[in-house]
């Protein structure tokens, strides 16, 4: 008998089309109805349509929880870093500022940090999280490793990230190419790189072009 494969979360920001389905669907989740926890940013809308959706990566050793002075952030046995415990959170903003992925949101008005908990109300009963269910580009996907390997040949999941001298391992995976192989995604070394895209002017013919191939 084979061990049943478990479902995991896979992110591939390069697929994102910025449609905000995830943002809208997130607010439908029972644990924070009416509030979206997902972060979706335009990197630089004036230059490119690139967007990045960020869900909680659920670190094995969560910086947010460790810098929390109130012990308000807990990690479940199955590795989900939960949103702040309401009685404890004192809205100090430490977690927001410390999270290497920029995930938590803070409401000072109600003295509470809120963040993605991988739709614990859904995933704990075997359903897919809302964002990964609806994502039209499947930049956010929730599947087994076998399914991902079948659906996306040429890509593989990695769950280690480098921030300066610090390596962070996460429950959520990022899709990277098979070749060249990369075991750790180095976030800080990419920080000042130019964005990827097409510059329209490179391909617009304005009648003064002499190059021939």
């Amino acid at each position: 008998m084979t061990v049943p494969e478990t479902l995991e979360f896979f992110v591939d920001p390069g697929r994102c089309i910025g449609c905000q389905s995830c943002v809208q669907a997130c607010a439908e989740c029972d644990t924070h109805k009416g509030q979206s926890m997902i972060q979706l940013d335009y990197l630089d809308r004036a230059h490119s349509t690139q967007t990045v959706p960020v869900v909680c990566m659920h670190c094995e050793s969560p910086t947010c929880a460790e810098v929390c002075p109130a012990d308000a952030i807990k990690r479940t046995e199955d590795g989900v870093v939960q949103t702040a415990r309401k009685p404890r959170c004192i809205a100090c903003n430490n977690c927001v500022l410390a999270c290497p992925f920029g995930v938590p949101k803070m409401s000072t008005r109600v003295n509470l940090m809120m963040k993605c908990d991988m739709c614990y109300d859904r995933t704990s009963v075997g359903l897919k999280p809302m964002c990964a269910s609806v994502c039209p580009s499947q930049a956010l996907a929730f599947a087994t490793r076998a399914e991902m390997a079948r659906l996306r040949p040429g890509a593989r999941p990695v769950n280690a990230f480098q921030f300066g001298a610090q390596t962070i391992r996460t429950k959520v995976n990022m899709m990277v190419p098979d070749e060249p192989s990369c075991e750790i995604v180095d976030v800080t070394s990419a920080m000042f790189e130019p964005t990827i895209g097409h510059d329209i002017l490179d391909t617009v013919f304005e009648g003064d072009e002499n190059e021939h191939e």
Partner: protein
């Protein structure tokens, strides 16, 4: 500039009563403790992809959505509109009663009983048709209605009103593709199911902002890329899928025919052709080959504004591929030569021979919910059910027999939707019934449209919200939302799916088909319009479509549910010499050896010889090109959070917040020349109107072009500027190109502090 019409009114008193106002989830919708009474499997009410989803219902309120993972097209995926669609139900703006125009009320309308409203409508129809002739009363319908309703609208116009003048809003949407497909293939439907995209080596997307207008298709394209496909995008704007496509061709708006002809020229020159397919399955290649000789890469580059290198690469990738999928949408269709654009795209598909096989496909991406089904069963001005022609005596005879009338009682073909407006403006058409159509926002040069509506003797609108158009109505009848009725729609792949009813219409609101039948009854002409259920209408539609190209005779509600949709054509019985029809219908058209009722076995295409047609596609510049006075191209389109004229989506709070107001997209190079910076109030003027909006300065658009999304009404409407030039064949208006001038506004527009963003 000729200022034919005044600036649109702000309509503040009407807006105060009828909206658009923004609804957010509240009360039981945010109470995590409320258990739904039931979940209803149905489809999204918005675009043509018709994603499957489930509605959670409690006490006649839709609480929210739950993904429907089993539905094979979208497997749970939804765009933001699908996620938030439930907020249109139970909306404070919802029309709960019938209204009539009244000068006494501040809003311009007063309530009246449903029965009284129906009899007022019937009296007006009777009077206008008696005094001015039957054709003086026109009907405008829509392609977001279920197929049953569109069938009923056609029957209502042709059999009950006996007016020639019925047309629908698909006229602004898919007609160029439809006409092109009929000319090249003899049938108007996406040739392939979307799963064929996955097998393609090259995916060519032309004039389709897939990420915003058909978001679910993105996953198919990315999965094809994961399997090694190259993605080519043709668009004047760098859309989200274009960002990481393999080849981006930023075509100058209105020059698509030239681009495809240039590609074909290179394919011929390099012999990247399927000679066997061309010889055996097509006609007309020789003449076409001669006609595209002039489209050298150099000339193509000059006309299209795409670099020669990019054109050569596109031709090589397309020419050498083993499998491929070409899809296009309004970007190449919304032109005064939209049919030519479509045909030129089809030409490169036929020349490659890559159609009718797994991984070899071609499709137009339909826009509206029932963009496909809505254009098949008789609400087009020249059409009868089953894709039949109103001008064809055989077709008239068949349908007349099904309806139990004499063929001569059927009117002759009428005019298209914009021509109806022109006739109204000229006083030839005196009365109008409109449903599922918001021409004041969605038709081009809409200052003219507004003037035309004001000239009507009587105008009745059936709607669930008071749309910008319904504000001009004499009587407004409260119709039904998609979730308040059942029926079928045919989605982008030609798959017929079931819409299930989740809630009842509130107060005096009725299902649209009942309203139409009530009008017929009040006219005393209810013959043929006495259905008791939607399924009854569908059963008659099956008979009426039998033997036509759009044959639904083998489709039943039970089969649709069993197979997650049935692909038409789907015959009920084997015709002479034809193979037994399959219960799932025909997912892929034009397969070798396939049978169709036109070719009768002589070939896979829907012509008597079974062969596809190459068509000559001479290039024409857009009707209104830029000049010194109006030196910039305006192109229009959509944003992901809004749908069409916005009558629904501009009332859904979270979607409004997503992209609250239209902005003018300008390239920084052009903006610098005009001294405009991001966020400036900017006036865009055409020969027809002007519009002041905030500028969005972005590098993702051609420097000679500005873009405005068209979902807003009044003074924010992009269609104040667009031109009503139409394609001579399909009658589609040229939304995608007109000439404008742009300058920084001296002051904020009057609406800016008087109206909310969605209003």
């Amino acid at each position: 500039m000729s200022n034919r019409a005044k600036q649109p009114p702000l309509d503040r008193a009407t807006i105060a009563q009828f909206g658009p106002s923004r609804a957010y989830a509240a009360e039981i919708r945010v109470d995590a403790g409320v258990e739904p009474d039931k979940t209803v499997k149905t489809h999204c009410c918005f675009c043509g992809q018709q994603c499957g989803l489930q509605l959670k219902v409690k006490d006649n309120t839709i609480l929210g959505i739950e993904p429907w993972y089993e539905f094979p097209f979208n497997r749970g995926m939804l765009c933001p509109k699908g996620v938030k669609r439930y907020l249109q139900q139970g909306h404070p703006d919802r029309l709960l009663h019938a209204y009539e125009k009244s000068s006494e009320s501040a809003s311009g309308f007063r309530e009246l009983s449903y029965e009284r409203a129906i009899s007022r409508v019937a009296e007006a129809i009777e009077r206008i048709q008696t005094e001015h002739g039957r054709d003086a009363f026109a009907v405008l319908s829509g392609a977001s209605l279920t197929t049953e309703k569109t069938y009923l609208m056609g029957k209502f116009a042709h059999m009950c009103l006996r007016t020639a003048n019925i047309d629908y809003n698909g006229r602004l949407c898919m007609v160029s593709a439809a006409a092109g497909n009929k000319k090249a293939f003899g049938i108007d439907r996406a040739a392939n199911p979307w799963t064929d995209i996955l097998e393609a080596e090259v995916v060519l997307v032309a004039g389709a902002n897939v990420a915003e207008c058909a978001p679910i298709t993105t996953d198919y394209i990315w999965r094809a890329r994961d399997r090694g496909a190259k993605v080519i995008v043709v668009d004047p704007r760098l859309t989200p899928i274009a960002r990481t496509c393999d080849l981006f061709l930023p075509v100058k708006p209105g020059r698509d025919t030239a681009l495809f002809s240039g590609i074909l020229q290179l394919m011929i020159k390099n012999d990247w052709l399927d000679h066997d397919f061309i010889a055996k399955k097509t006609v007309g290649f020789e003449a076409l080959a001669r006609s595209v000789e002039e489209w050298t890469p150099r000339r193509t580059a000059e006309v299209t504004g795409v670099s020669e290198a990019a054109i050569r690469r596109a031709a090589e990738w397309w020419g050498k591929a083993e499998t491929s999928f070409l899809m296009h949408a309004r970007g190449i269709e919304h032109h005064s030569h939209g049919v030519m654009n479509v045909l030129s795209a089809i030409n490169i598909v036929l020349a490659s021979g890559r159609i009718g096989r797994p991984g070899c496909g071609y499709a137009t991406i339909t826009g509206q919910a029932n963009g496909q089904g809505g254009r098949e069963h008789g609400q087009k001005c020249d059409q009868l059910p089953g894709g039949r022609d109103l001008a064809n005596p055989e077709h008239r005879a068949y349908v007349a027999e099904v309806w139990g009338i004499e063929p001569e009682h059927l009117p002759q073909p009428g005019v298209d939707a914009y021509e109806i407006m022109r006739k109204a403006h000229a006083g030839e058409i005196r009365g109008l019934l409109s449903i599922c159509f918001n021409p004041v926002v969605s038709l081009p040069d809409n200052n003219f449209v507004r003037a035309a509506l004001q000239k009507l003797d009587f105008f009745v609108a059936i709607d669930f919200f008071l749309s910008e158009t319904a504000r001009y109505a004499d009587v407004v009848l409260p119709g039904s939302l998609q979730e308040e009725d059942e029926g079928t729609v045919t989605q982008v792949e030609g798959r017929i799916v079931r819409i299930n009813k989740a809630v009842e219409p509130p107060a005096d609101a009725r299902q649209d088909w009942r309203i139409i039948q009530d009008i017929a009854k009040s006219l005393g002409r209810e013959r043929g319009l006495t259905f008791d259920s939607v399924e009854e209408i569908f059963e008659e539609l099956r008979v009426a479509s039998r033997g036509g190209v759009s044959d639904y005779s083998g489709v039943t509600y039970a089969r649709i549910e069993e197979h997650f949709g049935v692909f038409w054509p789907c015959r009920s019985d084997a015709l002479d010499g034809a193979p037994q029809p399959t219960p799932r219908g025909t997912p892929r058209l034009f397969e070798p050896g396939s049978y169709n009722p036109v070719a009768k076995g002589s070939g896979p295409f829907y012509f008597e010889d079974g062969k596809a047609r190459f068509n000559l596609t001479p290039h024409h510049d857009p009707k209104e090109d830029t000049d010194e006075e109006y030196p910039i191209i305006l192109t229009t389109g959509r944003v992901v959070s809004q749908f069409l004229s916005g009558n629904q989506t501009r009332r859904i709070g979270p979607l409004v917040d997503h992209y609250p107001e239209p902005k003018v997209e300008i390239h920084p190079r052009l903006a610098a020349r005009l001294d405009i910076v991001d966020g400036d109030w900017t006036t865009v003027e055409s020969r027809r109107g002007s519009c002041t909006l905030r500028a969005s300065v972005l590098r993702t658009i051609r420097p000679d072009t500005v873009f405005i999304p068209y979902h807003w009404g009044g003074r924010k409407s992009a269609n104040q500027l667009t031109i009503s030039a139409q394609d001579p064949i399909s009658k589609i208006p040229e939304y995608k190109v007109c000439a404008v001038r742009v300058h920084k506004a001296e002051a904020a527009p009057e609406y800016s502090d008087k109206l909310e963003p969605q209003q």
